[in-house]
Symmetry: C2
Subunit: 674 residues, 2 copies
């Protein structure tokens, strides 16, 4: 997961005799787009973006209604006029990166307390971001790398008017559903096209990927440019133990609660199914992810390796006088983790889980934005600083319908978790439940609050603070009651993270001194370049081939007698005889990816698009903690499958024309090879 400003020129030259040029890199960097929940890429000069259907899923669901279920039916705009607005959705394009480590470190003076250094860093970061925005007009964000030993300023151009061009039926995009998620072989057309607009017109973009119609082949060198969310490869043993003993098991319990109750609710009617689908898939996906990570963390060998690594580093620090100040760093982190473990349940309940209820999340955005906007940007809660306030305001004002029944269910789940976690007599429970049972209280709050209504939110967000303070709403009353506790929990978390950041920075220096070259930093939702080869693997003694085919899709459906989630949409059933069964559909590569990479373009040496990443396999989940390419694989939709589907299944001729210019000449669908 290499940085675009520290690309793997040497490894590529040595291992693959490939010369990475800055022009090649710039073309890929500026073609790549960042969705709030994933990645994508421009594929035409007119702002056409390719990504996963599951990245566009939220937008599809918001644009759906009881009458027209776009997730289910899919969508194709034959003309520009038919392209469908996606309110609330935006993408960012990375324009430039600047290393600002020295500036930030200069703000931290020797002898500062934790609170002082934290405040100094926040103020400096905020000033750098604001200065950059004022100067360039670009959205500017400082990113912490190498656990705080470097800070880079990322500048983005944002497109806020996105319109849906094409999405297949969910049945095709997520064929195999939760059972096949994180598995391979796989047969998904997890694909969507959107278009960026500017001033009401399709955006004119200078950088976009050309299409590699020939696809990829076994052992070919391929590259992924995307936004991996988070890895934990440099964590200390103490922090890994915290993940294993606190964070993951508690998250699993919470996910299980959500999954069972959402599944049960969802099954009561087709309408419920539609309403819950998006969030339920998110929960199921998180469940597979967390169980996979849990299994990895419960593997004693992993800890044995990490412990050995750690004691080697500690020994190195002890025996090098210029690194002696790093010796206590591991214990400092361990101590901070113990503090974080103690307040884990409270922090998650008060600050995080409650935001799963959208009505409450939006009400709290308003409550806090009103208060925070009165402070200088650098002193605000992080999400309300100037550089992020537009995101918050977009969410507050978005005219997205909230389903009361589903909101009630989610709030009841929240309360159930609360009483399970703290016991019903805990002040947090008595204050929030107000003498009611979880379901009754959830019903009452959602029915009586007005925050589900976007016009109401717009009106109250515009109120002067004094008037807003007088506003009476049951959800606001609840939120006001826990606001101070939430702020204190957040503050203490930040304090502990600051302690850790300083300690990790010291450890990073030891690692650099010992190993000589800096490896890529842990993922941080910023643009990264990965490379690898298209390649199968072994599992349980069986060889798993690198490619699946169109024929395999029909076979897998037949194996399950076309039962959900292995049923095919009518478009695919009808097209069966017209499709070449040998066309590759999905493929795996050794590219090192994690969540956040969904929708990433996968390109060949010419920088041409040969697929779109949409998943990783279960054995790759250990990659959260340790890099491995034995079994770990990225799963992509292949370009040849995409073209075959667009042409034969969806007859999306206009779209194909835009991708190709000459749609009937370049396509090797009926030729040999993979």
């Amino acid at each position: 997961m290499w940085l675009f400003n520290a690309p793997p020129i040497e490894p590529l030259r040595v291992k693959y005799h490939f010369e990475l040029t800055s022009a090649w890199l710039e073309q890929l960097q500026k073609s790549a787009v960042h969705f709030p929940n994933g990645s994508g890429a421009f594929v035409s000069a007119e702002g056409l973006i390719i990504t996963n259907q599951h990245i566009a899923e939220g937008a599809l669901q918001k644009a759906s209604s009881a009458k027209q279920d776009l997730l289910k039916a899919g969508f194709y705009a034959k003309t520009r006029a038919e392209e469908l607005k996606c309110p609330g959705l935006s993408v960012d394009i990375l324009i430039s990166i600047e290393n600002v480590t020295a500036q930030i470190n200069a703000a931290i003076k020797p002898g500062m307390s934790i609170e002082e250094s934290l405040a100094a860093r926040k103020t400096t970061i905020s000033a750098i971001e604001k200065g950059s925005f004022d100067k360039t007009g670009l959205r500017s964000t400082v990113t912490t790398l190498y656990q705080g030993s470097e800070y880079h300023l990322y500048r983005y151009k944002r497109f806020t008017d996105l319109r849906l061009v094409f999405a297949p039926e969910q049945q095709a995009a997520m064929f195999g559903g939760d059972p096949d998620n994180f598995e391979f072989p796989r047969y998904d057309l997890d694909l969507a096209f959107l278009r960026a607009y500017e001033n009401g017109q399709p955006a004119k973009v200078d950088h976009f990927l050309k299409i590699g119609f020939q696809g990829t082949h076994e052992n070919e060198l391929v590259f992924v440019a995307g936004h991996p969310g988070r890895t934990n490869r440099s964590l200390t043993v103490a922090e890994l133990e915290y993940l294993r003993d606190v964070h993951i098991p508690r998250s699993i319990a919470y996910l299980n609660l959500n999954e069972t109750l959402m599944t049960a609710w969802s099954a009561r009617s087709s309408e419920n199914t539609r309403k819950a689908q998006d969030e339920l898939l998110t929960v199921q996906n998180a469940r597979k992810l967390h169980y996979g990570r849990y299994e990895a963390l419960l593997t004693p060998e992993l800890f044995a390796r990490k412990k050995k690594e750690e004691s080697t580093l500690q020994e190195f620090a002890r025996t090098h006088s210029d690194l002696n100040d790093a010796v206590p760093a591991w214990e400092e982190i361990a101590k901070a983790q113990r503090t974080l473990a103690k307040q884990y349940a409270s922090l998650y309940a008060v600050e995080l889980y409650i935001s799963n209820v959208t009505t409450i999340k939006l009400a709290r955005y308003i409550l806090r934005a009103v208060a925070e906007k009165q402070k200088p940007s650098g002193e605000r809660m992080r999400e309300f600083r100037d550089s992020n306030l537009p995101n918050i305001e977009q969410a507050i004002l978005a005219d997205v319908p909230l389903d009361r029944d589903f909101e009630e269910l989610k709030l009841a789940i929240y309360f159930l978790n609360l009483v399970q976690e703290f016991g019903v007599d805990h002040p947090l429970c008595t204050a929030t439940l107000a003498g009611k049972s979880p379901s009754k209280r959830a019903f009452e709050l959602i029915e009586q609050s007005k925050f589900g209504d976007s016009a109401f939110r717009k009106r109250v967000y515009a109120m002067p603070p004094g008037e807003f303070a007088q506003l009476d709403d049951p959800i606001l009353t609840l939120l006001r009651g826990i606001d101070e506790e939430g702020r204190n929990l957040r503050k203490n978390t930040e304090r502990q993270n600051e302690i850790k950041e300083q300690a990790y920075a010291k450890i990073a220096k030891v690692r650099y001194a010992k190993d000589g070259v800096a490896s890529a930093p842990d993922a941080s939702s910023t643009l990264r370049l990965c490379f690898g080869t298209t390649k199968g693997y072994e599992e349980g003694g069986h060889a798993i081939e690198a490619f699946t085919t169109v024929a395999g899709l029909y076979a897998r459906s037949a194996e399950h007698k076309s039962r959900e989630p292995f049923d095919l949409p009518p478009s695919w059933s009808t097209a069966k005889d017209k499709l070449d069964p040998h066309v590759p559909l999905n493929f795996v590569s050794t590219c090192d990816i994690v969540g956040g990479n969904s929708g990433s373009p996968i390109v060949n040496k010419e920088g041409a698009l040969v697929g779109v990443v949409f998943d990783q396999n279960l054995p790759s989940l250990i990659g959260d903690y340790i890099y491995s390419d034995t079994q770990a694989r990225a799963i992509s939709v292949g370009i040849r499958g995409i073209v075959a589907a667009l042409r034969t299944v969806y007859r999306a001729d206009e779209l194909l024309k835009e991708l190709t210019g000459t749609p009937h000449a370049d396509q090797p669908e009926k030729q040999g090879g993979t």
Copy 2:
């Protein structure tokens, strides 16, 4: 939930002008049969038994294979020769009840310690059971009633050769699946017929229910004879708090873990679906039950009512000198509950959850049976006393195929729960996981152990104890390692239960002294008589009618576009036009039932069968703690729906002939009324 030896003669006379006679009662009592997991009734002189499909479900699954899925396809034996053996399944018929309270109390001498009184009671009970069996040849069990203020000896005749006669497709029996479970309106043909055999011939029985072909009608007095498993209506506030704060939330967490992982595994292939179906349904059912109870226990009014009741009783005890010894009883119970709460996680892990893995359950049965059989019956672990040993041996020796993959999944779930509950460094985890991750260790144990093989079990169960002690098997090694801890936990639980039993007996005396008449005791899996009326109810301001119809079934399926679990089997799709749409299918009554009542006959004043109970609605789950008939309802399959299905959908003419003698005359299917 009245006792058959203390029937509600007076209430029925006063409220319904109905004279309960002993002949009427005896006929119902001896027609009622007790399955290990529910109820049923004889409906012919040739041993034909009616019950629910979900009671016979385990047997159907055991008799199924990858080739022939009886759960899915249903089953009908046109001739006796085709009737299908159900190995391991048995039923008991209650022959007589004797009050043995005085005998048992006489064994408890003043001044005995808890241990001494517990041992004395166990020995006396064991002696009474053995004496009764030796004298009558009937299986004899002493049941504790009124929390230990009474003991009754129940004598049963057991039939161990049961054969399947008829079961509909699971789609029809559980139409609506988990989403409609505990709900009404409902449209399930949750029905099965089995036949008891003796000496290889159909059993000749003197008592069986005649069929009430006319069905029931709104406001009619109806009776249920069945085996409600457990209610908790006399519990102290401290014990209810223990349920609310310890038992239910922990059970929910465990059920959630099972449901998510079993569902995910089940969905990977049709074979997995078949293998997991039975246990997954059990888990989903338990989940609805526990959430329903949790919601009830989290209702502050319930506790307010219980606290008021309790302080009135306490005041009564304080102010009546002959009841003064009951004053400390509540605190004694509270103290015992605190002790039980402390060892809850260990007891459940070591003694209970591990038995969900059938291979391990059976291995432990053998390990312990070998040891326990060397002691006198009264000193053994409860399940190994003489009166229950045949059940254990039946399970050990049953030639039921165990699926390794599913066993591995269940064992991995067990280990995951263990590390979540105790942390991976807890001795229980290090000892059982032996340095492996949960999945790897589960795989290794199941693959390497021989206890999944019934021939192996048979052979080792026959070994002399000395030889058995030398036996080497990885599961045996694991079980030997936790055996002592398990026995200690069980012993301490029994000790606390003895303390509670003595305290509850004192409270029961106070209640009797204060309220004058004894109400029915809490359910205890023994035969009980309930009465009520066929009657709809109100929910969320809507009136819910007492009956659903055949037309309603087709409508509900259409509403869900025939998607699982609202799909109809071909038999029902085909029969649609031939069925009278107005025939009632399911109905609700105010009869007071809980789990264990499934399969219970529901009869009219003439004692004729008008339906089979198969479920209760969600509002009735509060009935665990407080009796209520406002919204609480029992849900039954109506006899008219049963007859229509057998005749028109399944063409089960021979079965109908046996039920009716004159199948074409008595049936009012095409006439009016309900």
